[in-house]
């Protein structure tokens, strides 16, 4: 059986994906949540938005995922940074999360990061 070498998709909010951020690294595995703003079925390129920030997604590997513009989606994938510093998440896993409480999500995410940091520090 193959040994698993997958990196966990770090949970980030879209507004944290700014140039210079510690999350913005080529091939960084990320998990993002947001509302699907647009989707081009021919190219497989979609745009995810959340709290004023947006991210380009490559959904080439998720052709079977039923997508609906305006719905909340969660994607896990690897970040690609091109020469113009444009970010694209090459998604490998996705799911619909309509009904997710984003305020609760944001609050718990901060708590979880602090918990993880404290755990590793101790």
């Amino acid at each position: 059986m193959a040994v698993v070498t997958l990196n966990p998709g770090l949970v980030v909010r879209l507004q944290e994906l700014q140039p210079g951020s510690s999350f913005v690294l080529p091939n960084q595995s990320l998990r993002v949540v947001g509302s699907l703003q647009s989707f081009d079925s021919t190219s497989g390129i979609a745009v995810l938005v959340d709290a004023g920030a947006s991210l380009r997604l490559d959904l080439e590997h998720l052709r079977e995922l039923p997508l609906r513009v305006g719905s909340l989606f969660e994607f896990i994938g690897e970040l690609e940074v091109d020469t113009t510093q444009q970010l694209t998440l090459k998604a490998r896993v996705g799911r619909n999360v309509d009904g997710m409480d984003m305020k609760l999500f944001d609050k718990v995410l901060q708590l979880r990061r602090r918990f993880e940091k404290d755990y590793k520090h101790n």
């Binding site: 698993v4 998990r31 995922l65 896990i76 718990v108 590793k120």
Partner: protein, 225 residues
Amino acid sequence: MAMEGESSKARGSRPCREWEQDPLCFAHVRLLAFDLLALRPVPHMPGYFLRRGRSVRQVEVMGIVVTVDRKERYLRFTCNNGTLTKMISNLKYISCTSFFIPDVAPSPVHGDYLCHVVVDDGTGCVPCIFWTNYASFPATSPAKGLELRSRQEMAIATTAKVKLGDLLRVQGRLNTYTNQIQVTVASLRTEKDPNAEVLHWVECMRLAKCCYDLDPSLQKRPLVP
């Protein structure tokens, strides 16, 4: 006794006999992936892992399925002359490497016998293994006959539904394979509630601070009438 003392010293934890009184040893401990993957196996005690000096055997984790791999337990092939059918185990879990069944025609394999799933909760990837071949281990299973058969069918049906992107709640026993920690699944459930994972994170943090990190001897014991 000397061995117990030695292993306890090596672990830097309380003696094994005290574990029997620690409920953590028998509960499904809810852990985030980074916490689970940091558990250390106890030397000479397979299936026992240590978390801050307390033993953990069973866990509950939740995450998004990022890998699904279904395998049959046996790889079946026919030798060159075509008269002898041989079955070998294709998994290292099975101590028996090969055996012959010259008089029995191979029955077709129905369903999957092993489902290997990796769940990602954002802090780590936890490999989970789900055995669905109950009928192959009649001696180790309390179920017999029809019950055994129905359990196997239920297990196969459960694993057949697992797909990439599902949010899974997994309960199972810890063990290691090729020095990597993994969960042997006892039960799994696909969560449909979009807030389930967030609530699981909260519960993991609360339990860690209020229960798992505490010394069991200092915790309040229930009143016995």
